[in-house]
């Protein structure tokens, strides 16, 4: 089943002097349960592509259909709601809410969705246990290591039961051990809950784990390799 369908996507940034085509006429689709990595050198357009898939940036041309909905046609407020219900985000710099504990960070998304207290409580503890932080539920982000924070971010991304998770360079700030742990967790969740994960990365360790690798250069897809 197709989760994301991208057709002729183009993004042009108009600078003061030059016009930059960050994404150039890309067409792609992602199936439910994929574990895909978008790779490419810096400035190749992978993060721009990911941002547009996540509805954070508007395409100049083309369309992105998520579950049949063209997200480019949604108003700003509807897009926020759409992201809340359908997309999980993992950022390079973790971006947890510093004043909330690990558990509260995970619960926060569910609270925005209007989930009951009991459900929030159970799922947040289950997710944090799944990412190996069952003992640190009440720790604030400042008291957690980078790897631990990123695991909380993964738990938060999954809390809303999204159709897919977008992870922009999730391992860029992590050491090898933390990277390995995080990737194992995400792979396990992908397999167990059949959630689609799409990474933008240039970390070879992520690439090695991915079952699909899309290489982007100068805003164009130069290869799309599926592995078993």
């Amino acid at each position: 089943m197709k989760v994301i369908d991208i057709n002729n996507l183009t993004k042009i940034y108009n600078g003061s002097e030059v016009m930059v085509k960050a994404v150039n006429n890309i067409s792609l689709s992602f199936e439910q349960g994929e574990f895909a990595a978008i790779v490419g050198p810096s400035g190749s357009g992978k993060t721009t592509l990911l941002n547009m898939i996540g509805g954070l940036d508007k395409p100049t041309e083309g369309e992105i259909l998520v579950g049949g909905t063209n997200i480019g046609g949604l108003s700003a407020s509807k897009l926020i709601d759409f992201r809340l219900k359908n997309i999980g985000f993992v950022f390079q710099a973790y971006n947890l809410i510093p004043v909330l504990t690990a558990k509260e960070n995970v619960e926060f998304i569910m609270e925005l969705q209007g989930k009951s207290r009991l459900e929030r409580d159970e799922r947040s503890i289950a997710l944090l246990s799944a990412v190996g932080l069952g003992e640190r539920v009440n720790a604030r982000p400042a008291k957690l290591s980078g790897g631990q924070q990123q695991r909380v971010a993964v738990a938060r991304a999954l809390a809303s039961k999204p159709k897919f998770v977008l992870a922009d360079e999730p391992t860029a700030n992590l050491d090898s051990k933390s990277t390995e742990t995080l990737l194992d967790i995400m792979e396990e969740l992908n397999k167990k809950e059949n959630i689609t994960f799409i990474f933008s990365t240039h970390d070879q360790r992520v690439v090695n784990k991915a079952r699909r690798v899309i290489t982007v250069e100068d805003g164009c897809v130069v290869s799309d390799e599926k592995r078993n």
């Binding site: 940036d57 950022f91 809410i97 909330l100 609270e111």
Partner: protein
């Protein structure tokens, strides 16, 4: 909802120093604004109490011409119909008839122009209450010296006793207040004061043909109880008014201006002296609810004004006091306005910093699905928390000062005291009791905080998530 409050509360304490500086600026601005305004309003109340509530009344019924030409000829008949019409109005606390006119007073040694005031001795208790102001103790230099020779007093009380030399008192509690006496000192000093400083002075009986002389006037005229006062003036329709009156007592009038010129006599005595028959110059009215003065004045006008009477409120018959208060009040309001304006910029600075350093975080919240309305709500609560901490702190901290300053008015000294006395007022500055002004100061701060909220709300509304995430 609860989470929004929790987040807002925790957010303001992320940068403790900044929060403390901002709340402290609100706290001190509010504290000083309240104390300053309380001093101002307390002083105005005191002025009004001295000049209006305790002497002229809030409303006066006069002969129509008296307002422009306050001569004894412009008096009016004090009839039962008039009394009955006035008494029908519910907000009227008391209506006191008076005869007021000027005369020349002499004791043989000194002469002075005085304000002769004929009073209904019973009803006047509810207005200027001269019976309660009869001088019972006097601190002449000799008496002060004698007291100091008799008793060992602490340094502070010696200083205060010397500072109050030549003062007259109508009661021991007032002496206690002025000399800052505790119970122990009162017990020690009061018997000596009673023995050495007591002053024989009486009030007027109902049919008395004597007079009461105000304290400062008595000192000027070198008059004492038992002496005879000669009064010469003009009576009704040009009849000559001249007579001699025994001085029954000395009264201490709070307003120094009045204390310099007042002579009380019974209403009948004054009517006879000025050949007025049943006429009076004014009916002075005090009110139950002074805020309702204009409505009461209008009601009185409708009932009795006609062709003969004028109904004036104190702001009309004492415009100088009104202008004095208004002028001073505007100055105070401008000063407080400047103070708040500075604080407003402090608050805006804090808001800008809070938004700037959390731009990315705010972007993340919107990216993961938090609506901008809810995000704005959290930021507004943060601002309100900041405002509330400073405001509640300021209100709570200023409250004891207001209570203390109201119960123990600050007594001015030196040039300032002289200036107040020259203006005709007792040189004390009490703080106004809790009233709308107290809570308004807090409300103004909160309104300013809400105004400052416009900045984060505008920033959030205009925020581009992708730009914020790159911050």
């Amino acid at each position: 909802m609860k989470r929004s409050f929790i987040m807002a509360w925790r957010n303001i304490w992320r940068n403790k120093r900044r929060t403390l500086i901002t709340t402290a600026s609100i706290f001190f601005a509010l504290f000083f604004a309240i104390i300053m305004r309380a001093f101002q309003l307390g002083t105005y109340d005191h002025m009004i109490n001295q000049a209006i509530e305790s002497f002229t009344g809030y409303i006066q019924i006069q002969n129509k011409e008296f307002f422009y030409d306050p001569a004894i000829d412009n008096s009016f008949e004090y009839t039962d119909d008039l009394i009955s019409s006035v008494n029908k109005i519910d907000n009227i606390k008391i209506a006191v008839p008076r005869v007021e006119s000027f005369a020349l007073a002499s004791t043989g040694i000194q002469s002075k122009g005085v304000l002769v005031t004929g009073i209904d001795t019973e009803r006047e208790k509810n207005l200027s209450d001269p019976e309660n102001r009869i001088v019972k103790y006097k601190f002449t230099p000799e008496i002060v010296e004698s007291i100091l020779n008799e008793i060992d007093l602490p340094e502070k009380q010696i200083e205060l006793l010397k500072a109050n030399e030549n003062n007259s008192y109508s009661s021991l509690p007032k002496i206690s207040l002025d000399l800052s006496l505790d119970k122990k000192l009162e017990k020690k000093l009061f018997p000596i004061i009673k023995e050495k400083a007591s002053f024989e002075s009486n009030f007027l009986s109902k049919k008395d043909n004597g007079v009461l002389v105000s304290d400062r006037l008595a000192r000027y005229l070198k008059a004492d109880v038992g002496d005879t006062l000669v009064l010469i003036g003009a009576g009704y329709h040009g009849v000559s008014a001249a007579n001699v009156f025994p001085i029954r007592g000395v009264v201490k009038i709070i307003s120094p201006e009045l204390d310099n010129k007042l002579v009380y006599m019974t209403l009948e005595n004054a009517q006879e002296f000025f050949s007025l028959g049943n006429r009076v110059t004014s009916l002075n009215i005090n009110l139950d609810d002074t805020d309702d003065m204009l409505r009461t004045q209008n009601e009185l006008k409708q009932r009795i004004q006609g062709d003969h009477f004028a109904v004036k409120n104190w702001e009309e018959f004492n415009p100088t006091l009104k202008q004095q208060i208004e002028g001073d009040s505007v100055g105070g309001v401008i000063f407080i306005g400047i103070l708040y304006f500075i604080v407003l910029f402090g608050i805006i600075g804090t808001v800008l910093m809070m938004i700037a350093e959390r731009k990315r975080e705010l972007g993340v919240m919107v990216a993961i699905g938090m609506s901008k309305i809810r995000l704005s709500f959290v930021l507004v609560i943060e601002m309100l928390f900041l405002g509330l901490i400073g405001t509640l702190g300021g209100l709570i901290a200023s409250a004891p000062f207001v209570v203390f300053g109201h119960k123990n008015p600050w007594k001015m000294t030196g040039e300032m005291a002289k200036m107040y006395e020259d203006m005709g007022f007792d040189p004390v500055m009490p703080l106004a009791w809790f009233d709308a002004y107290f809570f308004w100061q807090g409300a103004i701060i909160m309104i300013m905080v809400l105004f400052a909220c416009y900045i984060p709300l505008r920033r959030v509304r205009r925020m581009q998530v992708i730009t914020a995430l790159r911050a």
